[in-house]
Symmetry: C2
Subunit: 378 residues, 2 copies
Amino acid sequence: MLVHISKSVLVKALQQVYRAVPSHSPNSLLSGLYIHADSEGIVFRGSNTSLTLQYKVDIQDGSVHVVRSGSIVCHAKYLYELVRKMNDDDVILEAKSQSMLHISAGGTFVRLSGMSQAEEFPSIVPPVSVALYPTVQVPSRLLISVIQQVVVAVSTSESRPILTGVSLVIQGERLTMIATDGIVRMATRTVAIKNEAGVSASVIVPGTNLLEISRLLGEDGDEPVTIQFYPHQIYFSTNRLCMQSALIEGKYPPTRDLVPSGYISEVTVNLSILRQTVDRVSVLAEQRLITLQASEPRLVLSADTSEIGDMCDGLAWESRSGEDFRITVNGKYLISTLRSMESDCIRIRFADKRRPIILLPTDENASWLFLLNPVLTN
Amino acid sequence: MLVHISKSVLVKALQQVYRAVPSHSPNSLLSGLYIHADSEGIVFRGSNTSLTLQYKVDIQDGSVHVVRSGSIVCHAKYLYELVRKMNDDDVILEAKSQSMLHISAGGTFVRLSGMSQAEEFPSIVPPVSVALYPTVQVPSRLLISVIQQVVVAVSTSESRPILTGVSLVIQGERLTMIATDGIVRMATRTVAIKNEAGVSASVIVPGTNLLEISRLLGEDGDEPVTIQFYPHQIYFSTNRLCMQSALIEGKYPPTRDLVPSGYISEVTVNLSILRQTVDRVSVLAEQRLITLQASEPRLVLSADTSEIGDMCDGLAWESRSGEDFRITVNGKYLISTLRSMESDCIRIRFADKRRPIILLPTDENASWLFLLNPVLTN
């Protein structure tokens, strides 16, 4: 392998795939990054086996020149740190064998050991024709927004592994994601997509993988994302990026019954002001407990920490219907979902002090909701 | 106590003194910040007993209005976090007694417990007239530069506590600071100061305290800093800031003999390029070892990490005299001193492969130097 590549393009490529590299792995090959150059360009790949990220720099971009094809796996951390610090934009990567990569730029010359089993590095190219598997396309920004809004509710505990995943369902012209920790939180959003091939799919994708995928898509501009469903795997790809995640096997628990069928009170408040108020009240929220109280003339938030102090804060509502209410929730969960929402105002629905509150958008057509169970206090 | 104060001014004041608050202390009073308001303005104070920081907001600044005098000590972390998140610039602090502070701003109302022994909080006002003790004035920027350049060489080990301090000597019209870890590094700088009163002083100030002091001075604009020498204490003050540090008792070891009396080789290189080169080579520096080699036509830096790889890098020199040399040093110590230096170019002097290299400015009048002992390798 012998290639000339622009430093800035190389840094970006390494940054992208570096995110899949595990900090510790029993398989030392996974602490490496796979580089493959051929007449089409250069492909960079990182993997923790559950998530594999691949970034392609096309020969036609003009920022890369491949003199000799080849592939190598080098230690990710060293490779990335070294390239980032180069002081010349013209970087030359040369590997005479899979056991050594030479990097030169300006007055700098580096010899990095290769991990000699490059062909054993996790592959991302599907073994059979893609046409065999169901495929849909979703606009990048929409997909990012759905993932980030739903993924806040996944469980972080391994006691029920299935709940560390997000349920992704495609049926007709609708894509739905659902996540819940099974106890306190549930988030769901449904969006309209084009589905001319009539694909039906229902899979569970690890939440941490989806979050990484949404972050990488966010850095890659707004282009259509192709989603493909394979046995035990899901692929998300754009022009440059290809991201493959393992699936969680099993049956996602039913969540429909979690949402209270009615409500006795609803307030509409400005999302950004609510976010700031919750953030402020969280400072004194012992065990993260924040009490919401709707009574004239505003929504009051209060918290206390024993021996330190207490506080109350509040915001005027945009509109309100129904009875006064008072409920105590986990402020950390509340703030994380408020940060993931995109809306000027949101509605908060209250059914009963033992039943969850529901957060949902003011736009009746936007079909997302977030459910937060109360913390029962004295 | 009842005061109105602008949020931005209050946040800045708390930020400044917060830096002295210990994260853990057996004395719970020290986890607090002392606030005192009277007809002159408001004083804020934080202390870890070794370092006490005080910041004054003067009534004449127009950003504070004192309705009722008084003082209180409140938990620093909560106070700072809460004030920082307030969404109204007009903050009211009210304490009816020393046991409770009320904070209100916009729709937010907070009650913070006071630590009821405000009068036991470490004091900063000298008990007797300042005229009794030696006093000099040094321009703020000059003092910051001297501290930051020298403090990189203090020891971080408590095995010889005296070496965790910086020796500060005033004699005639000269202020000298010296720091050494006693083994590998020594830094010293002498600057001219005005000393009409003929003050003589020689004290040892904890390096971490001096570093905090230099950081606070850096945020406070360029004004003269008054240095006062008290028994067991040193004071640094500007209009708004008063910073008091305990001294380390004992006799600072002699350092003059550490500097080799002659040298056989000297190279002059661009400081900024050297910094970048050392930073890059550090990536592959196992046990931080970097080898410097002066031979035609450039200064070559090299490093390696077993099983990962090796690299060499280099920079052209500005000028050079004497023999070729090769020496191995600790790259972490080298980079930290290069970052603290202010100069376009520096000179590197080599005497012998077992004796320290000396880094010094090209300006013959600038009297600072940094000494770095080699690491002996095979």
